[in-house]
């Protein structure tokens, strides 16, 4: 009973908080949240909801190929957004592709966070040479755009292993590459907070009493950094999705056997000149909508959590 009451109390407090109020009062943010939720649901439930299974070759038939969207003269409502040259339904491809894009995006954010928070903690707490080295590496990495870092990592992996193996593990390589290219912001934030807390007296006191100073410090560091980390994460998610799409578009991301939105756009691009615009346009719109929604949410979160604007 006590657990239930405290949860409902938390809920009550949350619904009265500044953050929730600023959310409710911005219709744009609500729209963004709705769009994001919609995309999330449609894509993750794609096995259940998608009208076709475009990547199972046995279900495809070339006679369905190159059909325009349903509302156009040659269209077919069985394929609402048209098909590509292999007869794959564009709508279903988008749903599966979005799921893949989101999975890669979120996983790479997680990887970035993991690396960044760990290195930040170590760097801030241990200090000295370790800190200097980690920060130098961060600086060097920051001089290069993330996409370049990701490309480099991908290229190196490609050089090290054969092509077939590469296709199999492409998903993990991409997640790793993007994850490795974005850790710096997290590390810096955590490091800053840790360095501030490290010198405070309660940490010394903890040592004297015999408690682990690291645990105590982390408990104090966490509330301070949750806000900024959340904001960084939303920006990171948008950038990660774009990075993955870009890599796939360039042909060094996810292969056409497990296409993400970026791959779909690339495949469609090749047909653009001959006038079959729908194959590339609809995935592009979906990608744009997704990133836009995530960025709007990130913007709102940043303003809502900014103490200076409250």
């Amino acid at each position: 009973m006590a657990g239930g009451t405290s949860f409902s109390r938390w809920l009550h407090r949350a619904s009265d908080s500044d953050v929730w109020w600023s959310f409710r009062s911005s219709s744009l943010t609500i729209a963004a949240a709705v769009v994001t939720a919609l995309i999330l649901i449609l894509s993750f439930l794609s096995p259940l909801l998608a009208p076709h299974t475009p990547f199972d070759p046995s279900t495809l038939s070339l006679s369905d190929g190159l059909k325009p969207p349903a509302w156009m003269p040659d269209g077919d409502w069985a394929f609402p957004l048209g098909t590509d040259d292999q007869g794959r339904d564009v709508l279903s491809a988008i749903m599966y592709g979005t799921r893949l894009s989101l999975v890669v995006g979120m996983a790479s954010v997680f990887v970035s966070m993991l690396i960044g928070i760990t290195l930040g903690l170590v760097s801030g707490y241990v200090g000295g040479v370790t800190d200097a080295v980690i920060m130098r590496i961060a600086d060097v990495q920051l001089t290069f755009p993330a996409i370049l870092v990701a490309l480099l990592i991908d290229g190196v992996v490609r050089g090290l292993i054969s092509v077939q193996r590469h296709d199999e593990i492409a998903l993990f390589v991409i997640i790793g590459a993007i994850g490795l290219s974005f850790w710096v912001q997290y590390a810096r934030t955590i490091r800053g907070s840790v360095m501030v807390e490290k010198n405070k007296e309660y940490v010394q006191a903890a040592r004297v009493i015999g408690l682990s100073p690291v645990l105590i410090m982390v408990r104090h560091v966490l509330p301070n950094v949750t806000g900024p980390i959340l904001v960084i994460a939303t920006i990171n998610l948008g950038l990660a999705v774009i990075s993955e799409a870009t890599l796939s578009f360039l042909g060094v991301g996810l292969p056409s056997t497990q296409p993400s939105l970026g791959t779909l756009i690339r495949l469609g691009n090749e047909l653009l000149q001959s006038g079959e615009w729908w194959i590339t346009l609809f995935p592009s719109i979906t990608l744009a909508a997704l990133v836009l929604a995530v960025n709007l949410l990130g913007d709102w979160l940043r303003d809502a959590l900014n103490p200076k604007l409250r």
Partner: protein
């Protein structure tokens, strides 16, 4: 001031060395340089001789020194893919990338800064909100999507501009340029906009937020309290204070244009250095990758240095180190 420059120079060299180490590791340890260079039937003894000749059996530090020495002279060996000297490949394609980046930078600056100032001065006006909405879209759309959409509208549907390739160029010695003919310029338009749009929105948002911050400062309030005109306040006091931090970020962004060009070059089949890099990644063409890495590293380091010096020149607070002693 001299001490400052010296310090930054040393830092830059350190960064370059680190980049060099990464490049070198790529070069030496990823894949086998020998098999990239000789045919499959070459006997082992010949391979060994080649290895010896190329110094591949020397110790790592010695090889690194050789590598750096060669790099400083622009020698990066032969491309695995085409067997041409890497530096020739890069040099051929540099003008294309440089011209594209230059046009994109001009676009981003000359449209972005005024838009940023405007939306910073009049944030509640409907036109400001419109610009902001457009900028949000600009930041969210990946570059290649913008490129594709532009091609769709202007090349495929309207047929006003070419959809790929560099179009007409003229050659001056080693440099090829688009600037000499109208057709050449036409080919530059869509790619420049595509490449520059992201930077434009970044610059606009940055200038806007700096402007808003500046307008809230005490010295602006004091300027108003002294009855200074809006023009004096907005374009005298506020603008100068806004632009100073903008310079650094903008400088760094413009450097990244050259690196980001690789996506735009792929979309528009623009024969630049970026496209070369993509091909090298697809092919695991390590020498090209290593060379590109060093090139970009050098570029960014130089840009950082120049921007830091610029900052120093523009902000009197940083200059004051020497004057402060005399100022009491």
């Amino acid at each position: 001031m001299l001490a400052f420059i010296l310090r930054r120079l040393i830092q830059s060299i350190a960064v370059l060395l680190v980049v060099g180490m990464v490049s070198f590791s790529l070069f030496r340890y990823v894949g086998d340089p020998i098999s990239g260079m000789v045919g499959q039937d070459t006997p082992a003894s010949e391979r060994e001789a080649l290895r010896e000749k190329l110094g591949l059996n020397d110790s790592a530090p010695v090889q690194f020194l050789h590598f750096i020495g060669n790099a400083a002279r622009g020698q990066f060996g032969l491309s695995y893919r085409t067997s041409e000297p890497v530096n020739r490949l890069i040099l051929e394609r540099m003008p294309a990338t440089l011209e594209l980046s230059f046009c994109a930078a001009v676009f981003a600056l000359f449209v972005g800064i005024p838009m940023g100032v405007y939306t910073g001065l009049y944030p509640r006006h409907w036109s400001s909100r419109l610009f902001q909405a457009v900028s949000l879209i600009g930041i969210s759309l990946p570059t290649f999507v913008i490129g594709i959409l532009l091609i769709l509208v202007f090349a495929v549907m309207l047929r006003w501009l070419p959809s790929f390739g560099r179009g007409e160029t003229s050659t001056f010695g080693w440099w090829t340029t688009n600037f000499t003919s109208w057709k050449g310029l036409q080919a530059l338009i869509l790619p420049s906009i595509t490449l520059g749009l992201f930077q434009l929105t970044l610059i606009m948002r940055l200038v806007r937020s700096e402007m808003l911050e500046v307008m809230r400062t005490d010295y602006i309030k004091f300027a108003r309290a002294r009855g200074l005109s809006n023009r004096a306040i907005n374009f005298g006091h506020a603008l100068k204070n806004t632009l100073v931090p903008v310079i650094t970020v903008t400088g760094l962004q413009l450097g990244s244009l050259i690196a980001f060009a690789l996506v735009t070059e792929t979309v528009f089949a623009w024969p630049g250095v970026g496209q070369l890099f993509i091909q090298s990644v697809q092919f695991a063409d390590i020498p090209v990758m290593a060379a590109y890495l060093m090139l970009i590293g050098l570029l960014f380091v130089v840009i950082n240095l120049v921007v830091d010096i610029l900052y120093f020149v523009v902000d009197p607070r940083l200059r004051g180190q020497g004057a402060r002693a005399a100022g009491r």
